[in-house]
């Protein structure tokens, strides 16, 4: 079961989550969204569902599922 869900259409690529993630599970994907932003991606194998990304995201991209 997934630990984390990303509503990627909201992502503006600010990078707060990438800087904040204690396990380096988040990174820029290089995929440019419809709005022109380099959006983030998650490596679930590294994610510990700590919620840091949820807390620092200004655009409510993240949902922590467990």
């Amino acid at each position: 079961m997934s630990k984390i869900k990303l509503n990627i259409s909201r992502c503006k690529g600010c990078g707060y989550c990438v800087a904040e993630c204690p396990r380096k599970a988040l990174s820029f994907s290089g995929h440019i969204s419809d709005k022109g932003y380099d959006t983030v991606q998650v490596d679930e194998s590294l994610c510990i569902a700590c919620g840091s990304c949820y807390r620092v995201c200004p655009d409510s991209v993240f949902e922590i599922l467990e």
């Binding site: 503006k12 800087a19 932003y37 569902a49 840091s52 949820y54 620092v56 200004p58």
Partner: protein, 243 residues
């Protein structure tokens, strides 16, 4: 721990990447739901960037004239004392054009919550110098850096410290720890209003990457490393001790 954006917040689509407003709006939604006041809350938002929240919050909301959020909110609170009332504005509204309104609502100890987003500049108009701009900080109207011999740097919180109000605190919308703390401050402010204690003001230091001309993470670091030197975080008044 399950974490999901609050139902009371639609989105934050119009804010620039890394803008602190999206963070503050979400925290307000989370606090409203945790306190169970989301269906009675009335919010008053200032013009410019603050006013985007009128479309993002599922709260009854009034858009106020620049710097007049506080009297507008006080008018609502008198008529609807059963509603929690929030005035949400920037530092220009609270400490420049609306300074008199801020001080006098505190003097009357009006029973409302005020949240001030302090990003050290006038945001929507393009990053001009504000009373909160740091000495030497370059802005659109201080291109060589703010000259401290001509323009001082104002801490609104410092001015309010000695007033007889319910709650006064400053947090920063930076990092996971900063966000957890900021949420606690917002919650305490609303708890004071629910108890009828009077005026609460929470200032939130907030990154404005666009107008600081910095990538978001660097703007965030500016808030944490530079702004806090002039605007220390903490709880300064907590009447009767909600916290």
């Amino acid at each position: 721990m399950k974490l999901k954006a609050p139902e009371s917040v639609f989105s934050s689509a119009s804010f620039c990447p890394g803008c602190g407003h999206g963070l503050a709006s979400r925290l307000i939604g989370e606090v409203a739901e945790e306190l169970g006041i989301q269906h009675s809350l009335v919010t008053v938002v200032d013009v410019a960037c603050c006013s985007f929240n009128i479309d993002y919050w599922k709260f009854d909301t009034i858009m106020a004239a620049h710097g007049r959020d506080i009297p507008t909110a006080v008018g609502v609170k008198h008529v609807r004392p059963g509603s929690s009332v929030l005035a949400y504005m920037g530092d220009g509204a609270a400490y420049s054009i609306g300074m008199a309104e801020t001080i006098h609502a505190a003097l009357r100890n009006d029973n409302i919550c005020v949240i001030v987003i302090n990003n050290s500049v006038f945001g929507m108009t393009g990053g001009q110098m504000a009373p909160t701009t740091l000495p030497g900080e370059k802005t659109a109207t201080s291109p060589k850096g703010k000259d401290p011999t001509r323009y001082g740097t104002l801490s609104g919180v410092e001015l309010l410290k000695h007033m007889d109000i319910a709650y006064l605190a400053r947090g920063e919308l930076v990092g996971s720890a900063g966000m957890i703390k900021a949420k606690k401050l917002i919650k305490s402010a609303f708890q004071h209003q629910l108890k009828g204690d009077g005026f609460s003001l929470v200032e939130l230091l907030s990154p404005c990457p666009t107008n600081l001309n910095l990538p978001p993470v660097k703007a965030r670091d500016f808030v944490h490393n530079e702004m806090t030197k002039y605007f220390p975080t903490g709880v300064f008044i907590d009447k009767g001790g909600v916290e």
